[in-house]
């Protein structure tokens, strides 16, 4: 197993080795040279993956060739040109006892984390939905083309995933390579630690130097995140690196400081687009007159294009095409300030439900966040997870901040004061602009909190009682963070170890106990005897495991009206479309993940299509009630008609009472029945208030735009009632409305024609293609009237618009 896995480590090591001599031109401090080499290596990984993706050559061989060429060229250039004569000697210092102690602890814990990484494959929910999907899709297609499920995540920049992809591809893309996708993210903790050390150096907080790197690396979330496969730790590393380089730029105003700040910021933006608001600390640090003056100097202006290029190296591959195609680099996310839309996009974060109740007590309106740093809970239980775990030093930094700020202002150390503002700026950006309220999104705040502690330690002499107490608390906090973080990094560690001991450590055994019946389905789909199947799914709860851990399965998908709405995608509009897709793509298995919160209720249109046409499928596997795997069956009579021109849409089902149900009734009663071939709605509006009823029928024929009008016959209605027709998308917030004009005061028969292209009213973004349900709403015209009557409806049909009608 290990034979195939050494290559990614070798290539990463070779890149670092080739970059290392060049960092001597920049500075002589080992930590800064290490940080520079780490950021440059990330820049290479991202740059080469994007370049090869653009050519469609993103594969193991090309990565090897490119890396060999790059490292050889860098080393040859270094030794054959006079540049190496300008190298500054490395400034080595003897480590302190505290530094040695904490350094050893960090090394031991991270060695243990690396070993734990071999025991478990990535397990985070988001990882199995999209982070790993990006990696498998790229490994199969040789490019970074988004997976065809229309979720915003597939359109976001993917710098974090590219580091996992680099390891995955170089390790041979097999079963064991999958494990490396988590291990690949572990080194980001070192990048973050180095960044905080450089920041402390730049701010002349010398007493913090022995402990600030271990304290950053041993933040519980920094240990937990990589093996889960999440990229917040990578984002934190790049953001803190950008912050450290910005501090250096503010102190020295060297062009190289700005350049590496730009590269780090680009990589942070390329990891998570929330950099857009989490960059505030960097902006605050750079916001001083001397820095701005140096930025507008002639020599600096000459370098600005280089800085922009370095920023775009980290994120331009995604943002530039989005900007040119849609005008919005952050597509598909819409950016709004107040009611003004700055960048339009189909996905808005306005109506996102906060996840606060996972962390705070029920009904807490948000004040609980003030005490959360002292008691980190998840679902009412004190625990760490890939979502939370800031550790005791964040709590300590949180309370130390006012003192630290006071000291900075009193001593007129304005750069330090601006740097300390990073903590409140990050927490404020998180609280105001991050709608989900997951603590992990504010992970950079852990690094900034350490700066406040560093200011206090700089003021307290070590050889005093208070100094000893303070350092004791620091060491205790760091040790606890590291041990607790390591223990939380591997879910169910004893079982993983026990299985390893028996020689049964594999993704299959791990996912069996981690995900229950879903895990059994993962195993079946990954069965070694199958050479690779074509698979699709109805619900996107898990996508990555469909590839199998050998990565051989082909996963295909085409969106339907129940999926998020993104521009430029052809939708499967009805069951026949879906069948055609299954046949064309030669789909062997349709996997139905039922959401564990919903049980048997079908939530997706394709799931409903399947349930309504079970005779067209064969149940191959079933795991509990939550996973079913079907094989599509195509009979000759179906194939004979599948590709023929479409027959007229049959709306007869709307005249049948069993397809209608009362969604909402207020102040009266309703009965839905049949009268001949007509739908009969009997109602009794018996209160002097507004009486109201809302009837709903599922539709999803999807072909509305091909027609001009929706027609039906209505009998028995008079203008003593108001009748409305609503057409709603699967996302029921998007709808259109028609008011049916009734003939007069006496019940009569009339033909109703609704212009599908021009409703009376519609919500923003409503798309008639995505209509999945029809509502009939009936209410009394005068609230004080009481009415007992009935209407009947029949002959629903669609027709082309008639000129002059």
């Amino acid at each position: 197993m290990t034979q195939i896995l050494w290559l990614p480590f070798l290539c990463t090591g070779a890149t670092l080795t080739a970059v290392w001599p060049w960092t001597a031109l920049y500075d002589r401090r080992p930590a800064l040279r290490c940080l520079t080499a780490a950021v440059a290596t990330s820049g290479w990984i991202v740059g080469i993956c994007c370049f090869l993706s653009a050519l469609g050559w993103l594969n193991r061989t090309m990565l090897l060739l490119a890396t060999a060429g790059f490292t050889t060229t860098l080393l040859a250039l270094w030794w054959t040109t006079p540049l190496h004569r300008h190298a500054r000697p490395l400034e080595l210092r003897r480590p302190t006892r505290l530094g040695l102690l904490l350094g050893t602890l960090t090394a031991v814990l991270y060695t243990a984390l690396l070993l734990a990484g071999w025991l478990v494959p990535p397990y985070g929910w988001d990882t199995l939905v999209y982070h790993l999907t990006v990696i498998f899709q790229a490994a199969q297609t040789g490019s970074l083309t988004p997976f065809p499920f229309p979720a915003a995540q597939f359109y976001f920049p993917q710098v974090g995933e590219l580091h996992s992809l680099w390891f995955f591809l170089l390790a041979g893309s097999g079963e064991h390579a999958w494990r490396l996708t988590g291990i690949a993210l572990i080194p980001f903790a070192l990048t973050a630690g180095l960044a905080m050390r450089i920041a402390a150096e730049a701010l002349e907080l010398k007493r913090a130097l022995p402990w600030i790197l271990p304290a950053t690396m041993l933040t519980p979330l920094m240990l937990i995140q990589p093996l889960a496969g999440y990229v917040d730790a990578a984002f934190t590393a790049f953001l803190l690196a950008g912050f450290a380089f910005a501090l250096l730029a503010a102190v020295h105003r060297r062009g190289s400081d700005f350049a590496f700040c730009a590269l780090s910021c680009g990589l942070a933006m390329g990891t998570k687009i929330s950099f857009l608001y989490f960059c505030l600390p960097i902006v605050v640090v750079l916001a001083s007159w001397p820095v701005l003056r140096s930025l507008v100097s002639r020599s600096a202006l000459y370098r600005v294009p280089l800085w922009i290029a370095l920023f775009l190296l980290g994120c331009g591959y995604w943002l530039v095409p989005h900007a040119t195609k849609t005008g919005n680099p952050l597509y598909p996310i819409a950016v709004k300030v107040g009611s003004t839309t700055l960048l339009p996009g189909p996905v808005s974060t306005e109506n996102v439900a906060s996840e606060r109740q996972r962390y705070l007590d029920d009904g807490d309106s948000g004040w609980g966040w003030w005490t959360y740093p002292f008691n980190e809970k998840l679902r009412s239980k004190t625990q760490y997870s890939p979502e939370n775990g800031f550790g005791p030093l964040f709590a300590a930094g949180f309370v130390a901040l006012p003192f630290a700020l006071w000291i900075a202002v009193r001593d007129k150390r304005w750069l330090l004061a601006r740097a300390l503002l990073a903590l409140p700026a990050t927490l404020l950006a998180w609280a105001v602009l991050s709608p989900w309220e997951h603590p992990r999104y504010a992970l950079p705040a852990c690094g900034f909190a350490l700066l406040a502690l560093a200011v206090i330690t700089a003021r307290v002499p070590r050889l005093t009682v208070s100094g000893a107490l303070l350092h004791l608390a620091l060491v205790a906090g760091i040790t606890f963070s590291g041990v607790a973080g390591l223990l939380a990094a591997t879910p169910d560690l004893p079982r993983a170890l026990s299985l390893t001991k028996k020689g049964q450590s594999s993704p299959a055994t791990f996912y069996h106990y981690r995900y229950g019946p879903y895990g059994h389905a993962f195993s079946w789909l990954s069965a070694a005897e199958r050479s690779g199947s074509t698979v699709t799914f109805t619900s996107p709860y898990f996508i990555a495991p469909l590839y199998g851990w050998h990565g051989r399965n082909r996963v295909v998908y085409r969106p339907n009206p129940s999926d998020p709405s993104l521009a430029g995608q052809t939708l499967l509009l009805d069951y026949r479309d879906w069948r055609k897709f299954l046949h064309q793509e030669e789909v062997e298995y349709v996997v139905v993940w039922k959401h564990w919160q919903d049980g048997q209720k079908p939530r997706r249109i394709s799931e409903r299509w399947l349930v309504e046409n079970l005779s067209d499928f064969r149940l191959v596997q079933q795991y509990s009630d939550t996973v079913q795997i079907y094989e599509p069956i195509f009979r000759s009579e179906e194939l004979a008609t599948l590709y023929q021109p479409r027959s007229p849409i049959d709306l007869e089902r709307l005249s049948q009472p069993e397809n209608w149900r009362a969604e909402y009734v207020q102040g009266g009663t309703v009965a839905i029945g049949e009268a001949g071939e007509r739908l009969r709605i009997s109602y009794d509006f018996n209160t002097p208030q507004n009486d109201y009823l809302d009837l709903r029928a599922e539709t999803y024929w999807g072909r509305w735009p091909e027609f001009g009008n929706l027609n039906f016959d209505l009998a028995g209605a008079s203008d003593s009632v108001l009748l409305f027709v609503y057409l709603k998308e699967h996302n029921a917030r998007r709808m259109c409305r028609y008011q049916v004009k009734l003939n007069g005061s006496k019940p009569s028969s009339q033909s109703i024609s609704l212009n599908l292209q021009q409703p009376d009213w519609q919500t923003d973004g409503f798309d008639v293609t995505r209509v999945t349900e029809m509502h009939l709403v009936l209410e009394d015209a005068l609230d004080e009237d009481t009415l007992t009557s009935e209407i009947s409806i029949s002959n629903f049909h669609l027709q082309q618009p008639q000129s002059g009608a």
């Binding site: 300590a396 206090i456 026990s498």
Partner: protein, 52 residues
């Protein structure tokens, strides 16, 4: 001069005590995050090892 020094010492102590208290409260609230997994680990892994 003495008063300034005393004030500085008081501030230093106050900051130290706040930090130490924050860490102590945190450790008191979260100690089971280390103790429980370690106990489980000892029972499940080392215990199994002894039996086998």
């Amino acid at each position: 001069m003495k008063a300034t020094k005393a004030l500085e010492t008081a501030r230093r102590w106050l900051a130290t005590l706040l930090i130490v208290t924050a860490v102590a409260i945190y450790l008191a609230k979260h100690h089971q995050l280390v103790l429980v997994p370690l106990r489980t680990f000892m029972e499940a892994f080392i215990g199994t090892g002894t039996r086998s």
